[in-house]
Every structure is written in C-alpha cells, then in structure tokens.
C-alpha cells in the first residue's frame, strides 16, 4: 500500500516539474504582460502544488506540512497575480493587441461617479 502511494507521489513530482517548465516557457514566449501573467501564474501554481503534494506522498511523515504549503500556495498565488494585473493596468501598460472592450475602465469610472455622489 505504501509503495503504491510512493509511486503516485513520484508521478506527481514528474507532472509538477513538467508544468513548472511550461509556465516558465510561457513567461519567456508570451507577447505582453497580461499573457505572461496568465501563462506563468496558472501553470506554475499547478506545478508547485502537484510537486509538493508528491513530496508529501513519497514521505508520509511530512504529509501534514506539505499540505500546509499546498494550501498556502493555492491561496497566495492567485492573490499575488491579481494584485500584479491590477498594478499593471493602473500603471497604464497597454496590451499587445488592441482590445475593443475594456470593462475594467468602465468599472473604474462608475466607482469615481459613486464617490462623487457620496
């Protein structure tokens, strides 16, 4: 039983390293900052979670602490990518292809209008 869990852990480590490499490849290849954010953050989140979970499966004494790191990465990594995307938008970094619809700009204008009413 333990050996089966160990083999599952090794497979998870290999899958995680593949996803980490794909995320870094997306960081290198994508054309603008928003594409880089979505390629790098999603793929590397899945890769890091899978790899640390695999480490916890291979050595069952470490499973609890590995689970803590996995939960922390699952909470913190989307948060930091969200903050980065917001900062890149507010710093007026335009996208590579010109977008027709900009919903976030309208939302900011609505916020400003509401603040004036108050």
């Amino acid at each position: 039983m333990m050996e089966i869990l160990q083999y599952i852990g090794y497979v998870a480590i290999i899958l995680g390293s593949i996803f980490l490499f794909l995320g870094a490849l997306g960081i290198y290849r994508m054309p603008d900052v928003y594409n880089r954010l979505q390629a790098g953050t999603k793929a590397s989140t899945l890769g890091a979670m899978s790899m640390i979970f695999g480490v916890g499966l291979v050595n069952p004494e470490w499973f609890f602490k590995a689970l803590i790191i996995v939960i922390f990465i699952a909470i913190a990594n989307p948060l930091s990518s969200h903050a980065l995307a917001r900062a890149a938008y507010r710093a007026k970094l335009g996208p590579f292809f010109k977008n027709k619809i900009d919903a976030y700009e309208q939302e900011i204008e609505n916020e400003l209008k509401n603040e004036k009413k108050d």
């Binding site: 480590i13 900052v33 790098g40 953050t41 590397s44 790899m51 990594n77 890149a88 970094l93």
Partner: protein
C-alpha cells in the same frame, strides 16, 4: 528513483533559466515582477524536492518560509507600481 530527481531538476533548471532571461530583458517593470514571482514559486518547489532528495526535514520549513516571503515581496512591489505606497 534517481531518474525522477534528474528529470525534475533538469526541467526546474531550464525553467529558472527561461524566467531569469525574462527577468533580465523584460521591457517593463511589471514583466520583471512576474518573472520574479515565477522564479520564487519554482524555487519553493525545488526546496521541497531537495528535502526529499537529501532526506532533511528542515528544508520543508525553508520552502514554507520562502513561499511566504516571496508572496509578501510581490504584493509590496505590486502596490508600489500601482502608486498606492
């Protein structure tokens, strides 16, 4: 199980090199912060894998602290780029 470690560490090294290239030549500072974020995540999982390879329990703690510090650093730099700090 040497194959697993060699395979995973070679892919991790390639990923670190690719994101470090983006970190050096990225056109804007947001690109550099994105590359730094990815590098810190890759380093976190590399620490966990090193703990398994050398059979040292303390490296897992280092991975946890590195994840927390990388997250705080990225949040602070993002707030600074936004102009709110």
């Amino acid at each position: 199980m040497t194959f697993v470690f060699v395979f995973a560490f070679s892919l991790i090294l390639l990923g670190l090199i690719l994101s470090f290239i983006r970190f050096v030549k990225g056109p804007s500072s947001a690109d550099r912060v994105v590359a730094l974020d990815t590098m810190s995540i890759i380093a976190t999982s590399a620490f966990a894998l090193l703990a398994l390879m050398f059979d040292r329990y303390i490296y897992i703690d280092i991975a946890l602290i590195y994840a927390v510090l990388g997250f705080i650093g990225v949040i602070v730099i993002a707030r600074y780029l936004e102009g709110a700090l």
